[in-house]
């Protein structure tokens, strides 16, 4: 079966896992490490339900090989939770605004928008506009909410983050 042992750093913790070179990061995170917040949705990088941050940048877990994540920081949505499972402010905005329905797309939406708001802040730009948020989310599909409440949640968080 041609497996080799690699070290993955996920949500700040190191994991030794045996993987095949062909295994995707999605499969390893979901099936081997039990991270159910990284989800198979299409396997072709089109729907965004397997989004994770790789050194802070959103990537599709289904298009990334597990071995490509060696030596890099992998963050899943659960990695945003604080001590005692407290919600990240962006997750609180999603909760308050009703931005999840079935919830399947939520991790991808949260991680993609977190990165967008962070980039704007780091580059000293104004917080992303609603149109800029829409553009950033084209790779994250949602079939339940119609997007309005997701956009509301992200705008609220962007305002909060800009005020910090």
């Amino acid at each position: 079966m041609n497996k080799r042992q690699i070290m993955l750093t996920v949500n700040g913790r190191d994991h030794e896992v045996w993987v095949q070179p062909s295994q995707t990061l999605l499969d390893v995170l979901h099936d081997e490490l039990g991270l159910s917040d990284v989800r198979y949705g299409c396997g072709e990088g089109l729907c965004g339900t397997c989004t994770v941050l790789l050194d802070g940048e959103p990537v599709n877990g289904c298009l990334t090989l597990a071995v490509q994540a060696v030596g890099r920081q992998v963050t899943t949505m659960r990695g945003l939770l604080g001590p005692g499972d407290t919600l990240h402010p962006l997750q609180e905005c999603f909760l308050r605004r009703g931005a999840s329905q079935c919830g399947f797309c939520t991790p991808g939406m949260v991680l993609t928008s977190l990165d967008l708001v962070r980039r704007h802040r780091e580059q000293g730009r104004a917080r992303p506009s609603r149109e800029e948020i829409r553009y950033a989310l084209v790779g994250n599909l949602c079939r339940c909410t119609g997007y309005t409440k997701i956009l509301d949640a992200i705008e609220e968080y962007a305002d909060l983050a800009a005020g910090q």
Partner: protein, 794 residues
């Protein structure tokens, strides 16, 4: 009424509680939302058991063929393969679906695994389990099937032609429904004006982001399946397939990552069941996206022919409707879908003379079945098209012609049903149009702006002759917290959370003190599946009644302790207390901190006092929907318990050079009776409208001679965050629904209006109405060109 957030165009969530309720009418972010934003919810694919195998279905690559050979030796020989099963391994290889309750359809059985004949591309032929998914996929490739291709039929008109190949020996018409009232032919002949048109709709994919998935295992000899399903009651069918007693099959529904009707029929269940039963090991099966797109059920394409007669003032006098629906090769739920289409074909309008027929026709296309809207949504494109055409013919405004004909409480439908709740359709129309604001101007030359609207009447609850029922069980625990058990399945629309709000309202337990257990055919009282916009109506009433009955049983105990009459108690904030004398009916704010609660007892104290008196604090209640019957020969009878009415309005810009339609503004208003959770109601309306926009403009699960043309999300275009504007929502609360506390269902209704609304706006912009979905740039451009050349000729 909700308010629009001026900053975002979206809706503020700080909503006023409706009426005098404390919990109902508020929008708490409840248990499922919390798990979802944490990422801690376990969906069907998120389950692992020791020794778990991985399953894969082997599917037909042809839409119509005879199986002449089937060789599984190579697949079975692959190391790591635990089972390769074919039709010969299925104890009872027949699924009989009587979707109309046996009222009218042909009896055609569907095999779990095809035996000698395949009837659609993707039909299951064999199923494999192996130690890894990769091995299962490899083994599936090694299953060798020989096919002899047979002629097929790939559209309903060909299927009905003389000498057409038969999908089943008994014939190609699965069911035909007739609804008749008055004399439509005579009234059409006598009408001042008659408008006539044909409307065509397409195959559509549900495209829930969570594909079909589940895990099965044996536990204490019971075959247990934890799957993404809307219907745990399929346990009975699974037992039949395996020839097991029903007590030996348990189905658990995980919270779903979307369903929209696509998880109403069985998906992975029979295959998991066969593999678990044969291997005696746990098995997981996830359909990959290509498999889901190709082989899962679809929305029925319809051909609808409408003839509408009216007098000069716009009053409808007659309507004739013929509907053909493409069922694909097996019955699934087509008989009921086509019934809903016929029963709703005249929309929210009074039609004194009607003649409506609808047929479900077998083809060798992908099977059609339930999809949000269930036949009652396709017809909106037809009946609203007719109203716009009538307005144009008579020189009346589109709102005038509708207002002249809107149904009202007490009116009869063409089926003979009398409407016994209020019809606030006019109010929804004015509010939806009002939300559009000032008209936009074209952004540049060559672009045209238009506005449109679409009204609908959508049923909630099952067809009435099914004598529907739902049960719920509540238990006040010793510490004053509350348990709810219900067989309801949760699609993500807050089905479970709404039940918690209703119980909290009646029993006064804080929401955080309530736990709800759902979707388990062994441990929960049956609730009957989540479909037909029935669960708030059914399980909502079941929980409301259970809570009221439990409160009535416990109230005398509390009354005794507090020295007041039972009727003078209120249950709120985890306590029972006498109603404040100055506000008997409207207990407003909860007690401020520090205010004495000496004249009250906690729910824990009440539970202890009940226990001391041997009074049970647990209660099971079954709620039954109103019953009735339908006579398919007379085309008259009882159809649905009630309807939800609503209107959408849109402003679009059409590029006359490319045919591209850009939606500039979109607004939706529905009467939901009472909003149990306004934020979730808005979410249903926004999500339904967005799904409807995809249906209207881009989504097409086209087939070429039975072969699906879209294999990926790259080819099948569901709306993304950039495609459409925010959906503005307004909610009417008439208080007259038949759900709990006067609620009406809102799960399906808001997808219905959209295609008609967009067509109406396009017609307003370009002067020609698209009658075929989706309204692609090519089709719109074709209309613009046709109108231009017709203009040149005249």
């Amino acid at each position: 009424m909700t308010t629009t957030d001026p900053r975002t165009g979206g809706q503020a969530t700080e909503l006023q509680p409706g009426g005098s309720y404390r919990v109902v009418g508020t929008s708490p972010a409840h248990h499922d939302f919390v798990d979802k934003v944490k990422g801690s919810l376990h969906y069907a694919a998120d389950w692992q058991l020791p020794g778990m195998l991985y399953g894969r279905v082997v599917r037909s690559p042809l839409p119509s063929a005879r199986i002449t050979g089937l060789d599984v030796a190579a697949a079975r020989a692959l190391p790591g393969v635990a089972a390769v099963l074919t039709a010969a391994d299925v104890p009872h290889n027949k699924i009989v679906e009587r979707a109309s309750g046996g009222l009218a359809e042909l009896e055609v059985t569907m095999p779990v695994l095809a035996q000698d004949r395949v009837r659609y591309f993707g039909e299951p032929v064999a199923v494999v389990a192996a130690a890894t998914q990769q091995l299962a996929d490899e083994a599936a490739e090694l299953v060798n099937v020989d096919y002899e291709e047979l002629p097929g039929v790939f559209d309903v008109e060909s299927a009905l032609a003389d000498g057409a190949p038969r999908v089943h020996e008994v014939g190609n018409t699965l069911v035909s429904w007739q609804i008749r009232c008055g004399d439509a032919a005579a009234a059409l002949a006598a009408a001042d004006v008659v408008v006539e048109a044909e409307y065509r709709t397409q195959h559509v994919e549900h495209a829930y982001l969570e594909p079909e998935a589940g895990v099965g295992w044996l536990e204490n000899g019971v075959l247990t399946l934890r799957v993404s399903t809307q219907v745990i009651e399929h346990a009975a069918t699974i037992a039949q397939i395996l020839r097991l007693p029903q007590s030996k099959v348990r189905v658990i529904a995980a919270y779903m990552g979307g369903g929209f009707g696509g998880k109403e029929d069985m998906t992975v269940e029979p295959f998991l069941a066969l593999l678990v039963w044969r291997t005696r090991q746990p098995v997981r099966m996830i359909w990959d996206r290509q498999e889901s797109l190709a082989a899962s059920t679809k929305r029925h394409p319809f051909i609808m022919r409408y003839r509408t007669g009216a007098s000069m003032d716009g009053t409808l006098t007659a309507q004739q409707v013929e509907i053909l629906g493409d069922a694909g090769p097996y019955p699934n739920l087509s008989p009921r879908v086509l019934f809903a289409a016929a029963a709703c074909a005249c929309g929210p309008y009074r039609v004194p003379n009607a003649s409506i027929s609808s047929s479900a026709v077998f083809t060798n296309n992908t099977p059609s079945s339930a999809f949000r809207g269930f036949g009652a949504m396709q017809v909106v494109y037809g009946y609203e098209g007719q109203m716009d055409r009538l307005a144009e013919r008579l020189g009346l405004s589109r709102t005038q012609v509708r207002e002249r004909n809107f149904l009202a409480k007490g009116d009869l439908l063409p089926t003979g049903d009398r409407l016994d709740t209020c019809v606030e359709i006019g109010q929804t129309m004015h509010r939806a149009l009002g939300m559009l604001g000032e008209p936009a101007r074209p952004s540049r030359p060559g672009k045209l702006v238009g506005r449109g609207l679409g009204c609908n009447r959508h049923p909630y609850g099952r067809t009435i002759w099914f004598r529907d029922r739902a049960s719920a069980w509540l238990s006040l625990q010793a510490d004053g917290t509350l348990l709810i058990r219900s067989g309801v399945t949760d699609l993500g629309a807050g089905q479970a959370a709404s039940l918690c709000q209703i119980a909290a309202e009646v029993l006064g337990a804080p929401l955080d003190d309530i736990s709800i257990y759902i979707g388990d055919s062994a441990l929960n009282p049956p609730a009957g599946g989540t479909f037909a916009t029935r669960q708030l109506y059914m399980s909502g009433n079941a929980v409301l009644n259970a809570a009221r009955e439990l409160r009535d049983r416990m109230a005398p105990v509390a009354a005794d302790l507090l020295g007041v009459a039972p009727a003078e108690l209120e249950f709120a904030d985890g306590r029972v207390r006498p109603v404040a004398p100055d506000a008997p009916d409207a207990p407003d704010a909860p007690d401020a901190p520090g205010v004495s609660t000496a004249a009250s007892i906690t729910l824990a104290e009440l539970a202890a006092a009940c226990d001391k008196r041997s009074i049970s604090t647990a209660h099971l209640s079954t709620w039954r929907a109103e019953a009735g019957s339908f006579d398919p020969r007379a085309g008259q009878g009882d159809t649905f318990p009630d309807y939800t009415y609503g209107t959408h309005a849109a402003e679009v810009e059409v590029d006359t050079e490319t045919g591209q339609v850009t939606v500039l503004r979109y607004a939706a208003c529905h009467d939901v009776g009472r909003a149990i959770n306004p934020m979730r109601v808005q979410g249903q309306i926004q999500g339904g409208a967005m799904q409807g926009l995809g249906y209207a403009l881009t989504e097409d699960m086209a087939l070429q001679d039975g072969h699906p043309q879209a294999a990926l999300f790259a080819d099948y275009l569901i709306p993304n965050a950039q495609d459409y504007p925010d959906v503005l929502v307004d909610i009417v609360e008439s208080g007259e629904g038949k759900g709990p506390l006067g609620a009406r269902g809102i799960g399906e209704p808001p997808i219905g209006n959209v295609a008609a609304t967009i067509a109406s706006a396009i017609a307003d912009a370009i002067g020609a109405r698209p009658d075929q979905l989706p309204m692609t740039p090519e089709r719109v451009l074709g209309l613009i060109d046709a109108a231009a050349s017709a203009g040149r000729r005249t």
